[in-house]
Homo-oligomer: 439 residues x 2
């Protein structure tokens, strides 16, 4: 037991956030905007438990994550469990459980809270919410196109424009073809080169060149590699590496993006790698175009094996995951955070104790009309009640004193314009709705 | 690493649930209905992190919970943390952090995912979502009334009627007055009697009487206790115990419930105790009136000390917590689960590969009009596409073959009535919306 005079800290656990009503309104706006866009594309929401068996991550999620970042422990029944650090193993498990019953393609999205033990820093906390969008069971590059369309549509629905973000697209198959067939590197050399490319933007040129040389590349091969990594779409298709399956996929994808007018948001960038083993075809990352913010905001791509950890089938998929922390940083940088409508629309003031019943009845009527109403329950000087409504940014105050009750009217005050009207109480809804439109 | 032929189980961790799209739709409907009602009463949503420091629960949450039910462990930095089993400590911490800045009363709600290590059974899993509604900083019983009004309104908004649920109300102060002043029991005896009352409905009469006798009650006192526990509101106010602060509170509360027409959903029941230390005044529980379901669905009440664990102030509050598992059982028992609108409204079929561009453009137009649209990306026999739309309960199929493209029209098929129309594609939205209304 804590002694009465030893107070506990009011801070949340390190690297986590409290969502006060103002923060929560923003979170709800963000998530509901994402949801609406995904649903308009025919994607359906799912969720799974926060805890999964440890094995689910031990098998696939990579050593760094499991050893250094995973929250895991034994439950009271000695089962080894982990708090989900990513959604993919959960969705793979869920899909595997119904793989023979569910029509394909499967278009699903989720909004899980994910946890990783990390050093908290800008854009990275110990917990975040991640919008996951995936389409399973389609081998065509048109699925890759649709996923990019969803990602672009979400950015647009959040108010961003082509001047503020860009999706950089590559294809793992193409890069692999170039490294294997044209630069004639073996598997080990290719892995080492991919690791270097993945770090290319974060390390100095010298360190980068050194890494490539260590990987077995001659200066001449380094030169050829740099040329392909810097290729613009206009020159790309003449490059011999494009005469390959990966090249055709990129060609088809960019043609479709152009036909649909999405090419203005997209750019070829063969230096996009996104890890080593997971992705098999198209890969992409979303970049903030603000010069201060050079890190990728989120990314995704095509993977060929989602479910084989759980069943004898395999199932290709394309998807992306978008974290709420980095997106909110993006929206803040570009001043795209919206002015949300007031959470409480009407403050029903209390003239005095004898008028309480009328206040409660009137509040009820407004609520039944769908309005968000708070009611003063304790007698208090009217001036103080107005002041409270003002402090809390409630745009409209309604009051029924003895005169109004006698006459069947209500006094409404618009807290911003100061306008005040007295009108029959059954006509108040229309006036309130009119005023709310102008708030 | 798992060997390729050893597949992991597709089942979720014991006592938890996967929410497939159908389950998720229901969960979203339930939560959004709760949210809407709370917002109409001027309550604002908040949230806090899933993990809190262990001390937050060690101090207050009771031995059984901490020792037998709490998920807790050391993080990689050796901090002792716990997964939240209830929301109260989190909200207390959050309120304490801003107690001098925030206007009162504070009306807040949340929808946290909570975890307890329990034996899974009907109505009780290891995780559930709990709708928490609280009003802080008001000493009047009108706040208790408002909280009950919110609880009733939520039940009504879920489609329940006064024949299906009942809120049973008591007052801890009144019961304590009766036990202390009228039955002249000391503190220890009162605690023992309250424990027995709390078990009254779950144990046999003999065991119950034995518990009371052990607590120090004579047969005469047991008789007087039973009489007050069985009191109806009509006889209640003549009882001498009602000449007390608790009695006046109950009187004021029931008078207000009657004036507001809520007494039809409520009943006096002085056997409602709800634990020993936490609550100080009004306590209530919501009961399912179905004979097969005699357990309380949820409960709440007034507490005087929410924040003193975290700061030097104290703050009274009234609130309740409603779990999603028991509420869904209630809705299932009473056949109140809604037929939700179709998640996908239009299936845009693909006549053949040459018509793809038109399919994508038409899908985009429907989405921009706010419709939920899935589009066929791979050529497939039309019959099979119709079958797929049918299997997936998509009510409308749209198709543009070469003839339609030539004429600027679209063929729409209503999958339930079988009705089929050809109309200019820019007029299709109105027809689709009309058909959706009748789905």
């Amino acid at each position: 037991m804590t002694r009465q005079d030893q107070k506990l800290s009011t801070k949340p656990y390190k690297g986590t956030r409290d969502f006060y009503p103002e923060d929560m309104r923003l979170r709800n706006w963000l998530f509901n905007t994402m949801r609406k866009t995904a649903r308009n594309f025919g994607y359906e929401e799912y969720d799974g438990p926060m805890l999964e068996r440890f094995e689910v991550y031990a098998a696939k999620s990579g050593e760094e994550l499991v050893n250094e970042q995973l929250y895991h422990f034994k439950d009271l029944g000695n089962r080894h469990v982990a708090i989900r650090p990513e959604m993919t193993p959960t969705v793979a498990r869920m899909v595997a459980a119904v793989i023979h019953q569910i029509p394909r393609p499967i278009r699903w999205f989720s909004l899980p809270n994910l946890w990783r033990y990390e050093r908290p820093q800008r854009g990275r906390l110990r917990e975040h919410w991640q919008f996951n969008v995936d389409i399973f069971g389609l081998d065509t590059v048109l699925a890759d196109f649709e996923i990019i369309d969803v990602a672009v549509s979400i950015m647009l629905s959040l108010g961003a424009s082509s001047k503020e973000f860009q999706i950089r697209i590559s294809n793992r198959r193409l890069l692999n073809h170039f490294l294997a067939e044209i630069l004639t590197l073996n598997q080990e050399q290719r892995n080492a080169v991919c690791k270097a490319i993945d770090k290319r933007e974060k390390i100095t040129r010298d360190v980068y060149t050194h890494m490539l040389t260590e990987s077995g590349l001659t200066p001449e091969k380094i030169d050829r590699l740099e040329k392909i990594l810097d290729l613009d779409w206009n020159d790309a298709e003449n490059h011999p590496a494009f005469e390959s399956r990966g090249g055709k996929e990129l060609h088809d994808l960019f043609s479709q993006l152009r036909r649909s007018g999405l090419d203005q948001y997209c750019k070829l960038d063969l230096s996009i790698v996104r890890g080593l083993d997971y992705y098999t075809g198209t890969v992409f990352e979303m970049y903030d175009l603000h010069p201060e913010n050079r890190r990728a905001l989120f990314g995704g791509g095509r993977y060929d094996d989602l479910v084989s950890m759980f069943c004898n089938d395999s199932l290709p998929g394309v998807g992306f995951g978008m974290g709420d922390v980095t997106i909110q940083d993006f929206l803040t940088t570009h001043r795209l955070l919206p002015d949300l409508p007031p959470p409480i629309e009407v403050f029903v003031a209390l003239y005095d104790a004898t008028c309480l019943e009328q206040s409660l009845t009137f509040s009820r009527q407004l609520r039944e009309a769908g309005l968000r109403v708070t009611v003063q329950l304790e007698p208090m000087k009217l001036g103080k009640q107005y002041k409270q409504a003002d402090q809390r940014n409630i745009p409209i105050v309604a009051i029924q004193g003895p005169d109004e009750i006698q006459a069947g009217t209500v006094t409404l005050k618009h807290m911003i314009s100061g306008e005040q009207v007295v009108l029959p109480s059954d006509q108040s809804e229309a006036t309130i709705r009119g005023w709310l439109k102008s708030v």
